[in-house]
């Protein structure tokens, strides 16, 4: 059974499909969450996202995520063309389930961190980051 995306790609022909990034169809939050959790329930809490309330510029937004006890964390951006931002897997050498990076946000949106805990359960947090247009629009 074709997904709607696959049907559109087939219908529009090779040219349309070729414009999609190699090897990755744009996933929605639900699709990315399901891929990460296998459909398991996702609780809330135990995950802290640190991000600015208002991003000074959407192209470089510093974000850090802390999820004590987590073995993996995935970061999603609900309003971006592709929801997936990054997935982190902590090995035995990790000092803490803590990571910081800089991300691109196309507009005001929620960012969501889902953590997989050592016992296989999932928990999450969600914050809104405002992304604004400044100046004369340039």
């Amino acid at each position: 059974m074709f997904t709607r995306r696959e049907t559109i790609a087939l219908g529009a022909g090779a040219a349309a499909a070729a414009t999609l990034p190699l090897g990755a169809f744009a996933a929605t939050v639900d699709e990315a969450t399901a891929a990460f959790t296998g459909g398991a329930a996702v609780a809330e809490g135990g995950v802290t996202i640190t991000a600015p309330e208002i991003a000074e510029n959407g192209n470089t937004v510093p974000v850090s995520i802390s999820a004590p006890g987590a073995t993996e964390i995935t970061l999603l951006a609900a309003g971006n063309p592709q929801a997936e931002v990054a997935t982190f897997r902590f090995g035995p050498g990790a000092g803490a389930a803590l990571v910081a990076t800089r991300i691109r946000l196309g507009r005001t949106q929620d960012i969501i961190a889902i953590a997989k805990m050592a016992d296989g359960s999932f928990t999450s947090a969600r914050v809104e980051v405002k992304v604004t247009i400044g100046g004369c629009g340039g």
């Binding site: 510029n57 192209n59 470089t60 604004t132 100046g135 004369c136 629009g137 340039g138």
Partner: protein
């Protein structure tokens, strides 16, 4: 219609919009933040205004003070500051032989540290009476002494080289000459600064003098200083040069802009640099 919406109304509307958002102070530059690099090097971000140059500004403020705390922090750490990547790339180019002479910058100039002080006094009038920016000096060396091709004014290589050279003056006060042979260029730059351009009929002064400290949409307007240039712009995720920024600003007023490297922009660069005399060269700063 946009044409009839003058700049004053734009700024006021933006301010009202911000007030509605709540929790955002319509602040002047941050009153207490201090720019200290790596916990050691203290940069001057507030300086007295010289009435002969900036009679309409009570105090000079670096653009650093107008940015939010996260952006400011990025500049205080030489690792977190992505502009340092460009400085390193410039350092690699500095040591790379190029051109028919098979020489590198290092062969004549030694270490990049020999460029200390240069950023602080440029642009300046050379021995032939021409007003030269840093890019002119770099290209002159390349074409006349190295037998190499000139770099595009806004090219990546040029921005990396100006980043390297500017970095050598970090912490030194901006000190461009505006008298003697520089005077006519300075006057030309001053006239440009106060000339309204484009469909939006905005001059540099409209935003950076009359409205510094206020908001244009969500941008916290600075004084438009260039002591921090070349800067790592979060928006571009790359180093942006002085003329590159001028082009962007004038284009945003919906005008046909002057070209990077043009006589006009070099005169404007001299004038704008002088408006920051006394502020520290920030090497490569971080701006939004």
């Amino acid at each position: 219609m946009m044409q009839h919406l003058n700049a004053g109304r734009l700024v006021t509307m933006a301010a009202a919009g911000l007030a509605l958002m709540g929790g955002v102070a319509l602040a002047d530059p941050d009153p207490t933040a201090e720019l200290v690099i790596e916990g050691e090097l203290h940069l001057t971000t507030r300086a007295p205004s010289n009435p002969a140059i900036t009679p309409n500004l009570p105090t000079l403020y670096s653009g650093w003070l107008f940015r939010d705390p996260t952006t400011r922090e990025m500049q205080m750490d030489d690792f977190e500051n992505p502009g340092l990547l460009a400085v390193e790339a410039g350092a690699a180019a500095w040591a790379t032989p190029e051109g028919t002479g098979g020489q590198s910058c290092a062969d004549c100039h030694g270490d990049p540290e020999s460029m200390e002080g240069l950023r602080a006094v440029l642009p300046r009038v050379n021995e032939h009476g021409q007003l030269w920016s840093m890019e002119n000096y770099i290209n002159n060396c390349r074409t006349e002494r190295m037998g190499a091709e000139a770099l595009g004014w806004n090219s990546r290589e040029m921005r990396e080289m100006t980043a390297l050279i500017s970095f050598q003056s970090r912490g030194m006060p901006v000190n461009v000459a505006i008298d003697g042979p520089a005077a006519p260029f300075w006057e030309q730059g001053r006239e440009m600064y106060y000339t309204r351009f484009g469909q939006l009929e905005m001059s540099c002064a409209t935003c950076h003098e009359e409205s510094a400290g206020q908001y244009i949409r969500s941008d916290h307007l600075s004084q438009g200083q260039i002591n921090g240039f070349p800067t790592y712009r979060l928006k571009d995720q790359a180093i942006v040069g002085i003329h590159g920024r001028f082009v962007g600003c004038i284009r945003d007023t919906r005008a046909e802009t002057f070209r990077a490297g043009s006589d006009e922009f070099r005169a404007l660069e001299l004038y704008v640099a002088s408006r920051g005399n006394g502020l520290s060269v920030e090497g490569v700063s971080v701006r939004h």
